[in-house]
């Protein structure tokens, strides 16, 4: 389907509709394929009680979680890219992730349980969101340059503290922290997935209705004004919603890299720049990409000689990195 000169509702509906169907199909398949394969018929007939347990306690939460986190990361990637007017920004550029990671690592070092770790990490994200918001403001505005600098500095500072904590703790804990920093989708319950989904859905809902404003915001503050929306207000809405999404995903899944950079870029190469289309397609694409990456990491562990399961962050970067370079070379 050739990309039209400007977005029409028909085209939008077709593309997003097809994308959404594809999303559901992949989600459905991955939930059953495994490994190990769980037959949907076994589930319905409840012949095998173990299958039901495996499906609802392990498989479904994990697959759903991958799709939610993937969608959330690439959605916030799109939002930050338009805010900073830079396609190379990612969900972790603006520092909120650093705050979340620092909270999570500190909680792990103190030996907290997993639910507490996520709670502290999310609190860390909110605190850092507030701090960055206050520090980056200039005369009530949120200019890209100061936002970017504050975020980068904040990240650097948070990671210095993380490394400091890392060198003070035992080897076992350090290993746990490493996993968290690379990002993994292990050990979530359906309940926890629900919590993340709620936060993410709230943020996505707001951002979706900002997506036509993102087009304007990406033209810079002055043009934003002359095209009829308040740069002050909309930049803040976009920054805060996207940051809450990032905070929630980092708190639960750690720092899964590349999804938020790679997926929006891929979508733009095919479907162009209009955020009304880029945004929903990135959510869809991010979910599918992380779902498949997680499937791959699961498969490798199942069939191979790996001592521990490969964190999904390794897979996303291993696939995403070279593919990204390939796309970039092709589009130049």
């Amino acid at each position: 389907m050739k990309r039209p000169a400007a977005l029409s509702f028909d085209y939008w509906f077709k593309v997003v509709g097809v994308g959404f169907c594809f999303f559901c199909i992949v989600l459905f398949l991955l939930a059953f394929i495994g490994p190990p394969f769980i037959s949907p018929f076994d589930l319905i007939s409840s012949k095998d009680p173990l299958a039901g347990d495996l499906f609802f306690k392990a498989r479904l939460p994990r697959v759903l979680f991958a799709f939610v986190v993937g969608g959330a990361l690439s959605a916030s990637g799109v939002a930050f890219q338009s805010l900073l007017r830079n396609p190379l920004a990612d969900p972790y550029t603006l520092g909120v992730s650093g705050g979340a990671a620092l909270g999570g690592v500190a909680a792990m070092a103190l030996g907290f349980s997993f639910p507490m770790v996520t709670l502290v990490a999310f609190t860390g994200a909110l605190v850092s969101l507030l701090l960055i918001y206050r520090l980056a403001q200039v005369n009530g505005r949120l200019p890209s340059a100061s936002l970017l600098l504050t975020g980068v500095m904040f990240n650097a500072f948070a990671f210095a503290l993380i490394l400091l904590i890392n060198s003070l703790i035992s080897f076992g804990q350090a290993h746990q922290i490493l996993f968290f920093l690379i990002g993994s989708l292990e050990a979530v319950s359906l309940n926890e997935v629900l919590w993340v989904s709620l936060l993410v859905a709230g943020g996505l809902f707001i951002l979706f209705f900002q997506s036509s404003h993102m087009n304007i915001v990406s033209l810079g503050e002055e043009t934003t004004h002359s095209l009829g929306i308040s740069a002050e207000i909309h930049r803040k809405i976009i920054f805060i919603s996207a940051s809450v999404i990032v905070g929630a995903t980092v708190a639960y899944a750690g720092l899964i890299g590349f999804v938020g950079l790679f997926v929006p870029h891929f979508v733009r190469l095919i479907f162009g720049g209009d955020h009304r289309l880029t945004f929903p397609l990135s959510v869809i694409g991010g979910g599918i990409f992380l779902g498949l990456s997680d499937f791959l990491s699961h498969l490798l562990f199942w069939s191979g000689d790996l001592q521990t399961q490969l964190p999904v962050g390794v897979i996303t970067a291993l696939i995403g990195g070279p593919f990204f370079i390939y796309l970039m070379k092709r589009s130049l």
Partner: protein
């Protein structure tokens, strides 16, 4: 009616505009001139609502511009910026359609009439032929024509232009000012246009404002303003070198 009264603006304590007072009536075509760094762009930004923390007053129909909502302001007043950076692969038509954004709901698609308005604006500025190309593939002058089309698709009553001709070739420069004159005459569009080229300045606008070091040095009817003496005072060059037939104008004044 655009009006400023003792308008001053500072950046880090440095004075950019210094007690600038003038009035532009509805339906006027006014040129804004001045050397680099004299405050022309800042003035345009203040009048378009992008800079709000100025001193003194700047009003549109007697309403303070820095208290107007961007949406309302942009339905009356459009800006053609000096240059624009596009981070994402928007097509030209998409960019021009963004001029319809002030009239649209929060999340909506462009209606048939929006597209028609955008198409007409692009035909007027001679850029409809690259409607489906991305902005990154255009030259500087082609980009400027797209930006002008975007401003026109806002259907403004007032048009502010910041050096719209800087990247244009001679033919399109002539076409640009021809178009502005036509819009000015047929639709009573109010125009404030930053111009560097003395020849264009002498031909098209009815009145000129000359800025120098943030102060409004000279203002008045074009042919009274463009004298050898004024140009030497503001630009520190001789006008004769740039406009060969100045003597006729000087004599007329």
């Amino acid at each position: 009616m655009l009006q400023t009264n003792n308008l001053s603006y500072f950046i880090n304590g440095r004075r950019i505009l210094d007690h600038v007072s003038f009035q532009i009536n509805s339906g006027e075509f006014v040129g804004l001139m001045g050397p680099n760094g004299s405050g022309k762009t800042t003035l345009i930004k203040i009048l378009s609502g992008a800079i709000r923390n100025y001193e003194g007053s700047a009003t549109l129909h007697l309403l303070h511009i820095n208290r107007l909502k961007p949406r309302g302001l942009s339905q009356t007043l459009a800006v053609v910026p000096q240059e624009a950076h596009f981070a994402f692969p928007f097509t030209c038509l998409e960019v021009v359609l963004m001029g319809r954004h002030p009239f649209q709901k929060s999340f909506s698609f462009d209606s048939e009439s929006d597209t028609q308005i955008a198409k007409r604006a692009m035909q007027k500025t001679d850029c409809w032929q690259f409607a489906d190309r991305t902005l990154q593939t255009l030259s500087g002058g082609e980009k400027q024509r797209v930006l002008l089309a975007r401003a026109l698709s806002q259907k403004p009553k007032i048009l502010l232009l910041d050096e719209p001709a800087s990247h244009l070739d001679l033919k399109h420069q002539e076409a640009l000012f021809g178009l502005l004159t036509e819009l000015h005459q047929s639709e009573r569009l109010t125009i404030l246009c930053v111009i560097h080229d003395l020849k264009s300045a002498s031909e098209y606008p009815e009145r000129l404002l000359l800025l120098r070091e943030g102060r409004l040095a000279i203002q008045g009817v074009t042919r009274e303003v463009l004298t050898e003496e004024n140009i030497r005072q503001v630009f520190d060059v001789s006008m004769k070198k740039y406009v060969p037939d100045t003597r006729r104008m000087v004599d007329a004044s």
